[in-house]
């Protein structure tokens, strides 16, 4: 199984990595329990910064597509195939759409929504 990234593509490199690993799981090209290369190895092979690969792995781990087992390395999660189908981004967009629609229905202007959104996002204790 081989990964291929395009450094000039409009999609960020870490997103390309996430999508390709998820696709590989969905298409049964990699299976639960299969080991993945270390962050350093993948970053060296793709001539990328370690942080880029680490970000992709962190997000995949958050989505329970992969799991890190300490010094033994990183593996495909046992429920990876089910978890790949979960579209967190779609869920966020759906919720935000409903919320913004309810604000507009009550007469809140777009600029007021933007300012309020920005203020909430900047709250440190959130």
């Amino acid at each position: 199984m081989e990964l291929q990234i395009d450094i000039e593509a409009p999609t960020p490199v870490f997103t390309q990595l996430i999508e390709q690993i998820k696709q590989a799981v969905m298409k049964n090209r990699i299976h639960p329990g299969d080991p993945l290369p270390s962050i350093r190895q993948l970053a060296n092979d793709l001539a990328l910064n370690n942080k880029t690969v680490a970000k992709a792995y962190r997000l995949l781990e958050r989505d329970s597509v992969i799991q890190t087992k300490g010094y033994r390395g990183t593996f495909i999660h046992p429920d990876a195939k089910t978890n790949c189908a979960v579209d967190l981004n779609g869920w966020v967009i759906g919720n935000l759409t409903d919320t913004i629609k309810s604000f507009r229905d009550r007469g809140v202007t777009d600029s007021e929504i933007r300012i309020a959104f920005s203020n909430v996002m900047n709250q440190r204790e959130l």
Binding site: M1, E2, L3, Q4, I5, D6, I7, E8, A9, I21, A24, I30, D34, P35, L36, P37, S38, R40, Q41, L42, N44, D45, L46, A47, L48, G73
Partner: protein
């Protein structure tokens, strides 16, 4: 007399092996690659003009021929002056000859590094590929070879100490031999790590081919490590039993074993028919 015959026979073998046999095989390999995978059809493999490679091949061959003549002359001179095999540092003579014989090889390695650097610089592709599987030491190196190397290294440490009545203080020769062996093997370990995990030098090399190259390099390092360990045991035996006149012969044999372990492993593992040259063809221009 017997020691002299053994020494000169081994020195002749060293001269032939290092300045004729291996250079001839390497030259033939370079020529086959150059004329089978030509610069016209495989431009990515040749970042410099074709004439540069022809000159490089010629110079390599010429350098080895000159070194063979030089080596034979040195051997004749040693015979003429009736070289004392028990002289202090006599064993360094075959070592020095070996180091000089390795010069063209070293030059070739440096040329390869420059070549790979130019290949990286001229690589205009925006896509990059990587295998989605971890590279591990034992996926690359045969486990029995690794185990044997460690066992022989341990045995050589213990035997060396045993022959010196376990006198291993900082000022003893045993300590220095341990240090040299330890540092040498640490160097090999670092080299193996670099081969397995570092950024690849050839931008067109596939994952499979990289593993093959790492296997060839690491295996040759393990063979050299075995040779080093055995040499320590043999030289210690020579010292213990006062067979000092055999030291130069032992050194020559050691040099040849090192050369065979490294060059022969590389040449046999990285055969041209096992390498994928298609990646060096020019990509078709999109309309």
């Amino acid at each position: 007399m017997t020691e002299s015959i053994i020494f000169y026979a081994l020195l002749t073998s060293q001269l032939v092996l290092m300045s004729f046999y291996f250079p001839r095989r390497i030259h033939q390999r370079m020529q086959t690659a150059f004329y089978t995978y030509t610069p016209d059809q495989y431009p990515r493999l040749y970042p410099k003009p074709a004439s540069y490679y022809e000159r490089l091949h010629q110079n390599y061959r010429l350098a080895n021929q000159l070194l063979l003549i030089l080596g034979c002359s040195v051997m004749m001179a040693m015979l003429a002056i009736d070289f004392d095999l028990s002289a202090k540092h006599a064993q360094m003579v075959p070592w020095a000859i070996f180091m000089i014989q390795m010069m063209p090889q070293l030059a070739l390695e440096l040329a390869e590094f420059k070549q790979l650097k130019l290949m990286r610089q001229s690589d205009q592709r925006t896509t990059r590929k990587a295998e989605l599987s971890p590279r591990r030491l034992f996926d690359i190196v045969p486990r029995p070879l690794f185990t044997v190397t460690i066992i022989i290294l341990t045995v050589s440490f213990v035997l060396d100490a045993f022959m010196n009545d376990f006198n291993i203080g900082f000022d003893t020769s045993t300590f220095y031999r341990w240090l040299i062996l330890g540092l040498g093997n640490m160097g090999f370990a670092l080299g193996a790590w670099w081969l397995i995990y570092a950024r690849k030098k050839n931008p067109y090399q596939s994952g499979t081919e990289r593993k093959l190259q790492a296997r060839a390099n690491i295996s040759s390092m393990l063979y050299v490590s075995i040779g080093m360990s055995l040499f320590v045991v043999i030289s210690e035996t020579i010292d213990t039993y006062e067979l000092v006149r055999l030291s130069p012969a032992a050194m020559s044999l050691y040099c040849q074993l090192i050369a065979m372990a490294s060059l022969s492993t590389m040449l046999n593992t990285l055969r041209l028919d096992r390498l994928d040259f298609e990646v060096y063809r020019e990509e078709p221009q999109s309309a």
